[in-house]
Amino acid sequence: MLSNKSIVFSAKNISKTFGAGKKITTAVNNVSFDIYDGEIISIVGGSGCGKSVLAKIMLGLYGPSKGKFHYNGKKITNLKKHWNDVQSVFQDPFSCFNQFFTIRSQLEDAFNILKKKPSKEEIKRRVDEGLLAVNVTPSDIEGKYSFELSGGQMQRMLLARIFALRPKVLIADEPTSMVDACVRANILDYLMKLKEELQMTIVFITHDIGLANYVSDRIFIMHDGMIVNSGTPEEVLDNTRETHTLKLLDDIPEVHKKEWIKNSHRSKNKEAS
């Protein structure tokens, strides 16, 4: 079904290592995949599985140590040109803004990356549009600095930046891991809205397979630098015997699970009551 769509990212046997000699660590180990235009792909795994390094490779911040990594069929050479198309939201909303400048001026700064920078009025209009897209009244943040907003509001600001800039691809690096459940639901909504309204290709990095299931077209499960399982949410969640996937599923504390932690007096008591 995806064959008629063009390939955005293509990775062929890419590896990324850090350090040298005996201290060498392999963050990404011989990984291959294609990501198609307009997809939401989730990369799921525990901390240290290499998912963030993979995100940085897609963003062009790292080059692969081995293998071929292409964006739109070409190697990433000109970073500024790459960031015209590929943008990111980060994990820690609290450290994402410079506290010495207003939020608004920093949202407007995003347009500096564009080769054809729009006029001032156009930028202002698009930032307003971006803010409205994440349900923030532009006048509410007029003259405000980052430390006057909550973590959830700041995470929205980062998404407003994406709605304003409208890149072709968004790399969302754990945008939900440091916010409350309520804000998390919001962020997932906005990611889906970006896909539906702006046909954006989204790579969503998370450690929670439940979230991945909700938003994604396809899921990659990562462990120890390798993609150990991939496919549609149904394929990955329901019809898998792959151990790492099963463990990730098993580890989410969910209400329907009878005995989340096994063999403890505590959880047995719970079942009995």
Binding site: G46, S47, G48, N135, S150, G151, G152, Q153, M178, V179, D180, A181, C182, V183, R184, A185, N186, L188, D189, H207, D208, I209, G210, L211, N213, Y214, P233, L237, D238, K247, L248, L249, D251, I252, P253, E254, V255, H256, K257, W260, I261, S264, H265, R266, S267, K270, S273
Partner: protein, 328 residues
């Protein structure tokens, strides 16, 4: 053992601003805990959870001040005592805290065993001095319970450990003196799901082995609390809005805010998968101003006009507490 080990009575706390302005971060919180009980406290960030933790330990460090109310551990009040008094006579032995950021809690230039040895040394009875080797043996026998490579962890600096090992070390150190009460302030929020489960498993192990038995567990993840806690209290804008058993609060919430919180949760279970999580729009009211009426009224989908006027008090619905006069 049915007497209350921990009693909180109408506790209110406020921050004093630089210009004499007060922010009432915690308002009128009351609950009792019995030996062996695990109480979960949940709410959004900024709801006063972390302030409440300071208050529950008696650690009101300016600009935080107690407004009114009392906190008692086995009948001993923790209010209006000096920070030094609390530090040397209460913390670690009677009430101990497991903080969220393990990295900030551990001194980066000291090894785990030294940090832990300090805790033992600081709370020794005068006159009884333990040898370094004795202290190390004691640490070893305790850390052996945690399912880690004990010798390596004890002889490492915090930066040499994984996030999970660090958090487990912090828990190990906080519970070293077998405290009567443990307050865990979002101990797993910074961890991935698998590490979170390991940490919870370790806490359960400690409970099973009787290292400590009574705990307050704070998080914004209601499903996690469901598995960890016996009873759950939901906080909103500094107040407890609902308190009942974990079963009651999570599976059959009554307060509109609890309902909304549950609605924002996702589930990977097949039948639940397509249900859309609904975020609660808007933001909690500012606690720097006097609030009239129900604090949740602005965001409540069941709100009636009079909700904005009538202050809501805790009332019993069945055998649970709910702060909403319309809750069934």
């Amino acid at each position: 053992m049915s007497e209350n080990i921990f009693e909180v009575e109408n506790l209110s706390l406020h921050y004093l601003g630089r210009f004499g302005d007060k922010t009432h971060a915690v308002t009128d919180v009351s609950f009792n805990m019995k030996q062996g009980e695990i109480l979960g406290i949940a709410g959004e960030s900024g709801c006063g959870k972390s302030t409440l933790v300071s208050g529950l330990m008696g650690m009101c460090i300016p600009p935080l001040y107690p407004t009114s109310g009392d906190v008692r551990v086995r009948g001993e009040s923790l209010m209006n005592r000096t920070v030094e008094d609390i530090r040397s006579n209460v913390l670690a032995q009677k009430v101990s805290m497991i903080p969220q950021g393990a990295f900030n809690a551990l001194n980066p230039v000291r090894k785990i065993k030294d940090i832990a040895a300090d805790v033992i040394a600081a709370h020794q009875k005068p006159g009884s001095s333990m040898k370094a080797s004795e202290i190390y043996e004691r640490l070893r026998s305790r850390f052996d319970l945690f399912g880690m490579d004990t010798d390596r962890v004890l002889n490492s600096f915090p930066i040499q450990l994984t996030a999970g090992e660090r958090q487990r070390s912090v828990i190990g150190i906080s519970t070293l003196l077998n405290p009567q009460m443990v307050i865990a302030d979002e101990p797993t929020s910074a961890l991935d799901v698998s590490t979170q489960k390991e940490v919870i498993k370790m806490i359960f192990d400690l409970l099973d082995k009787g290292i400590f038995s009574t705990m307050i567990f704070i998080t914004h993840e209601l499903p996690l609390l469901y598995h960890v806690a016996d009873n759950i209290a939901i906080m909103y804008a500094g107040e407890i809005v609902e308190k009942g058993t974990a079963e009651q609060v999570v599976k059959d919430p009554r307060h509109p805010y609890t309902k909304a919180l549950m609605g924002a949760m996702l589930s990977s279970e097949k039948s639940q998968r397509t249900r859309k999580p609904v975020a609660i729009e808007g933001a909690p009211p500012s606690l720097a101003k006097k609030i009239v009426g129900c604090r949740f009224a602005e965001r409540c989908s069941f709100a009636r006009p009079e909700c904005k006027k009538n202050t809501q008090n805790i009332r019993m619905v069945g055998d649970r507490e709910v702060r909403c006069e319309y809750a069934q």
